[in-house]
């Protein structure tokens, strides 16, 4: 176990317990952990997206490693721009071009997303805030086109198909397999549930009774959802405790125990002193 691992474990324990300290009340430990989180995650996301998409798939297409020497005024200028960037950020723009398997000729059409992207960034300046609209419009339009088809197919058409249940060659009732009664329940539940969301008619009389059945099915579904939610949250807590137990071992110099004692001590001192700044 080398030094950076042990140091890392101490940092991790401090941040973990810092966030758990919120359970007692809002306190400086929690605030520190929370703000570090906000900052670090912004930088983290940025790096991830840059190195997995912008560098290989945008810059890699715009400035691939050319075949042979660069000739012609235009191409020289084009790679001249690249070399200029290379002086500023050698880690991103290595000498000669970016080789990520996009052939040897620049894909000039990718200047369009590049410009839209840069305009998006410039929109931080309040005067140019509308710059971002073009890029956003592109993503909104594309997402709309993709989703219109996908949702109509998978969430409507295939679900209608799934409700068109079979009644032939099945048992009357079974708890674990498809059966006639189960299929009828699914069909009735789906139809009544859907009718609950029918707004052009008052829920009265027979129609009211039908939608009443619908809401019962919705409630059973929400109940299941609640049960699963509890299950998931508890699993996550188990995961955190397992990590804390690991970090509390002698390999890590009992990091969890020491940090826990330190935090409890300081929180106790602050509470009993009634420090106004902390209590607010």
């Amino acid at each position: 176990m080398n030094g950076s691992e042990i140091f890392g474990a101490w940092v991790a324990v401090f941040l973990t317990l810092g966030i758990f300290s919120y359970l007692y009340k809002d306190n400086p430990f929690y605030k520190i952990a929370e703000h570090v989180f906000v900052g670090v995650s912004a930088g983290y996301w940025m790096s991830m997206f840059f190195w997995t998409q912008i560098q290989p798939n945008l810059f890699g297409r715009l400035w691939p490693v050319p075949e042979g020497a660069i000739s012609g005024f235009f191409m020289r200028t084009w790679y001249g721009i690249y070399n200029f960037f290379g002086v500023l950020l050698p880690s991103v723009f290595p000498d000669g071009g970016i080789d990520k398997g996009h052939g040897t000729h620049p894909h000039f059409i990718y200047i369009i997303p590049f410009i839209l992207g840069v305009m998006m960034l410039l929109s931080v300046v309040s005067k140019w805030s509308w710059f971002a609209r073009l890029g956003i419009a592109y993503t909104v339009g594309m997402a709309a086109g993709l989703r219109a088809y996908a949702f109509l197919n998978s969430n409507v058409l295939v679900q209608l198909k799934g409700s068109a249940v079979s009644f032939v060659g099945l048992d009357w009732f079974s708890l674990t397999d498809a059966s006639i009664i189960n299929n009828v329940i699914i069909l009735i539940g789906t139809i009544t549930g859907l009718l609950y969301f029918y707004f052009s008619k008052e829920h009265k009389g027979t129609f009211g009774k039908v939608t009443r059945v619908g809401i019962y099915f919705l409630m059973i579904s929400f109940g299941a959802s609640f049960g699963f939610a509890v299950m998931g949250r508890i699993s996550l807590l188990i995961g955190r405790f397992t990590d804390l137990i690991t970090y509390g071992s002698s390999t890590y110099n009992y990091a969890s125990l020491w940090v826990l004692l330190l935090m409890i001590g300081l929180l106790a001192v602050w509470t009993f002193k009634g420090d106004k700044k902390v209590a607010s």
């Binding site: 950076s4 560098q55 290989p56 998006m120 109509l152 329940i185 579904s221």
Partner: protein, 342 residues
């Protein structure tokens, strides 16, 4: 005005229309643009949007510090955090490997190696001897600084071996164990994001205690289906006998009888009658834990979530599907334009 309003709406409409009908077109040029390049553009713009988010965050926190608003030292901490992760992502690699390719005397090189990887000299020597001809051995943990790695290379060369330093490539550093970025991910990002969500386990418990009340029939259904899923899904549910559940049902039915008839005799009769029936049935069948299956929690929860739950979830799914289709069509037709922020 055109650039600010009409152009964005036109872009959304054209791209939306192309993608939607791209699903039905088999013409190679259109297909290759819609399926490949257009999606790549989308991916690239999505990445720029992340950059924009980070910039906005920095702007906001910086303003907070400049204006010395309440809690500004914490805002400074956020900026420090950002600077650290940016450094790890773009400036400081922190991952330099040392590769040993040849040696004259394994014992001599092993002395150097042993001190580097915390092993005794014998095991270090074994590692070197086990190395196949023409292959290289890379020291497990990369070095944080270039000079640190260079020092080791020099030491090995002085001991009569051949070693060289290899820096992790930019771009693959994010996924290389040992880089500064990876360290940050494991010891800062992971505990923070995981603990934020683990907090909810506590709140779920206190909410169950304080908020989940049987106010009406709907709430009762919700609660019962939730409890059955909670108990039936985990191993302990399999240890709860179906007979125990039947006794509970008898008792709650009697409670129902009590509130309905408000007559102690009826209540008493239903309690005693129910218990008798269940007990006799149990004695006849020999109290099997999982029979009758309909009162056995693991089986019952499987039924609930495969049958009535699916019906309810599907009703919602179809409704949402139609709703998203409708919204998407409105974007494509240029009716809905709230995304331009006006």
């Amino acid at each position: 005005m055109f650039m600010k309003r009409q152009l964005p709406i036109a872009i959304a409409a054209i791209i939306g229309f192309l993608t939607l009908f791209g699903w039905f077109v088999d013409e190679p040029n259109i297909k290759s643009f819609v399926d490949d390049d257009a999606t790549q553009w989308f991916d690239i713009l999505a990445s720029f949007a992340i950059f924009l988010g980070a910039l906005n965050l920095l702007k906001l926190q910086a303003l907070k510090i400049i204006k010395k608003q309440k809690g500004w030292p914490y805002a400074a901490l956020a900026i420090v955090g950002f600077t650290f992760s940016f450094t790890a992502g773009f400036i400081l690699l922190g991952s330099y490997n040392v590769e040993i390719s040849q040696y004259d005397d394994p014992a001599k090189v092993a002395t150097v190696l042993a001190s580097e990887i915390n092993l005794d000299e014998k095991s270090a020597e074994n590692i070197l001897i086990a190395m196949p001809e023409g292959d290289t051995y890379t020291i497990d943990t990369p070095y944080f600084t270039k000079s640190g790695a260079d020092d080791v290379v020099e030491k090995i060369n002085a001991a009569g071996g051949t070693a060289n330093m290899r820096a992790t490539e930019w771009g693959s550093h994010i996924s290389t164990r040992g880089s500064l970025f990876n360290w940050m991910f494991r010891f800062i990002f992971t505990p923070l994001s995981a603990t934020m969500f683990a907090l909810l386990a506590f709140f779920v418990a206190s909410a169950s205690y304080r908020a989940f009340k049987i106010r009406n029939f709907e709430a009762t259904l919700l609660l019962i289906s939730g409890i059955i899923i909670m108990l039936g899904r985990v191993p302990i549910g399999g240890n709860i006998s179906s007979w125990f559940i039947m006794y509970i049902i008898v008792l709650s039915l009697s409670a129902g009888v009590n509130t309905w008839f408000k007559n102690r005799k009826y209540t008493l009769a239903s309690v005693i009658g129910g218990i008798l029936i269940v007990t006799i049935a149990g004695m006849i069948t020999g109290w099997p834990v999982d029979q009758p299956a309909i009162f056995y929690l693991p089986v019952l929860q499987d039924w609930i979530y495969n049958v009535p739950n699916v019906a309810g979830a599907r009703a919602i799914m179809i409704g949402i599907g139609l709703g998203i289709f409708a919204t998407s069509i409105r974007y494509i037709l240029g009716i809905e334009k709230s995304y331009i922020g006006e």
